[in-house]
């Protein structure tokens, strides 16, 4: 078995067309073709750093402010989770905690681990790293839940002087952090994981 790179070919990242002239525009879909995504790891790190930087104010600053007769009460992601636990809605608290804390933090760790494993040449299992990347791509978007919770609450609870909910500045930072992390995961070229391995299998598995 050969890789496209070894065969002097390049696979278009958008439409999958193979070309024998890497670097040229894909004749089928118009995207730029390349053997490996240019500066893949630099992009990964750039978006990663932006994501981490935005994640801090996203957690420290209030994501929403409840204005009522009793006064303003700002709440952060964590204080929202704690309030839900006090109300007894453990499932919902778990959803928010996982989507806003566990998923983003593990994403930061996994992406950094993947990028470092390639830069430092750690001889880790390709399959495991490949699965980790797939998981990050699949689950990452779900961190947006809390942003939509705040948006829905802020839009709905607008009863003038009685009570209203306003989004806090933290929610913007948090949304931006999720977007940057998604971009970071997307910039990662999984072929880099496999470049270090020696392929031996022959043929495709065809089946239902």
């Amino acid at each position: 078995m050969k890789t496209a790179k070894q065969a002097g070919l390049a696979r278009c990242g958008s439409c999958g067309t193979l070309t024998d002239r890497p670097g040229e525009t894909c004749t089928v879909c118009g995207a730029k073709t390349y053997v490996r995504r240019p500066n893949s790891l630099q992009r990964v790190w750039a978006f990663w750093i932006a994501g981490v930087l935005a994640y801090i104010p996203g957690n420290v600053m209030p994501i929403m402010v409840t204005q009522s007769v009793a006064g303003d009460s700002p709440s952060t992601i964590i204080s929202g989770v704690i309030a839900l636990i006090h109300h007894g809605s453990f499932e919902i608290a778990a959803v928010i905690f996982i989507a806003s804390i566990v998923v983003p933090v593990s994403k930061f760790i996994i992406i950094a681990w993947l990028a470092l494993s390639i830069q430092r040449g750690w001889g880790l299992s390709e399959h495991r790293r490949h699965l980790a990347h797939e998981a990050v791509e699949l689950i990452g978007r779900w961190s947006m839940i809390d942003v939509f919770v705040v948006a829905a609450l802020a839009a709905l609870i607008q009863v003038g002087a009685l009570m209203s909910i306003l989004p806090g500045a933290g929610v913007n930072a948090f949304a931006v952090s999720v977007i940057f992390t998604m971009l970071s995961a997307m910039s990662f070229d999984t072929r880099l994981i496999w470049d270090g391995s020696t392929p031996e299998a022959e043929g495709l598995n065809v089946g239902h």
Partner: protein, 243 residues
């Protein structure tokens, strides 16, 4: 709009379209027909894995068969039965449900005699008016704009495949864009967010759900079916084909 009735693609038209493309993507030389034939030939015989770059002989698949890369186990080729028909059907249904989801009231809130009924568009307008323009823009894009754009693009691509019309350049651009939009359509995440917010509000006010809520709920299910009906490889293969 001019219809191209020849199967495959009209080569005069291809030249014209590639020049058009060249201007959009700031590239000068459009590929020659010979070049397109060479690419077509190369891709009829070989296929590369998107995840690990292994090159394989391109297999001919029976309907509903798929091929997995032996090296990394990624599915690299599918042949979904009646993909175009099903894509078109699901996208038409999505378009109808989308209209329901944005035009009817989404939720209604009541507290101490005051009530508030909003549609999704009202909700975004409220955010924008309360100086939360960034949040409003993010929501409008991820919940309303991108899903709609994706539905329309897939409908356009599916319809032309379905009618066995030429699948030339405009379809390539449309399908590329539809693919790019996939991770950025978040209507399903929004729905989970809404359900969480209902629980949070629960004790403060009476909430009732409007028809748009159920429209949106149906929309995300139908869009998921539609996404799984799309057969990427067949579509790109048809677009690539030179007679």
């Amino acid at each position: 709009m001019r219809r191209i009735l020849t199967p495959g693609c009209d080569l005069g038209r291809v030249d014209e379209m590639t020049r058009f493309w060249g201007r959009i993507f700031k590239q000068q030389a459009p590929p020659s027909v010979a070049r397109m034939r060479a690419i077509d030939h190369l891709n009829r015989t070989l296929i590369a894995c998107p995840a690990c770059d292994a090159v394989w002989e391109r297999p001919t698949l029976a309907p509903n068969e798929h091929a997995k890369c032996k090296r990394c186990h990624t599915t690299i080729l599918t042949n979904k039965h009646r993909s175009a028909e099903r894509t078109v059907a699901f996208m038409v249904a999505s378009l109808v449900l989308y209209a329901v989801a944005i035009s009817f009231p989404f939720m209604r809130m009541e507290r101490s005699g005051l009530s508030n009924e909003i549609s999704v568009i009202d909700a975004i307008a409220i955010l924008a008016n309360n100086s939360m323009v960034i949040l409003a823009m993010i929501c409008a894009g991820l919940i309303l704009l991108f899903p709609l754009l994706r539905i329309i693009l897939l409908l356009f691509v599916g319809l032309s495949l379905f009618r066995k019309q030429s699948t030339a350049r405009p379809h390539a651009l449309s399908f590329r864009l539809a693919q790019m939009l996939e991770p950025w359509t978040m209507a399903e995440i929004f729905m989970i967010g809404v359900i969480v917010s209902l629980v949070k509000v629960g004790k403060l006010a009476d909430i009732s759900l409007g028809p748009a809520f159920w429209g949106m709920a149906a929309l995300i299910v139908i869009m998921a079916f539609g996404a799984s009906a799309v057969c990427r490889d067949t579509i790109w293969h048809d677009i690539r084909r030179v007679p």
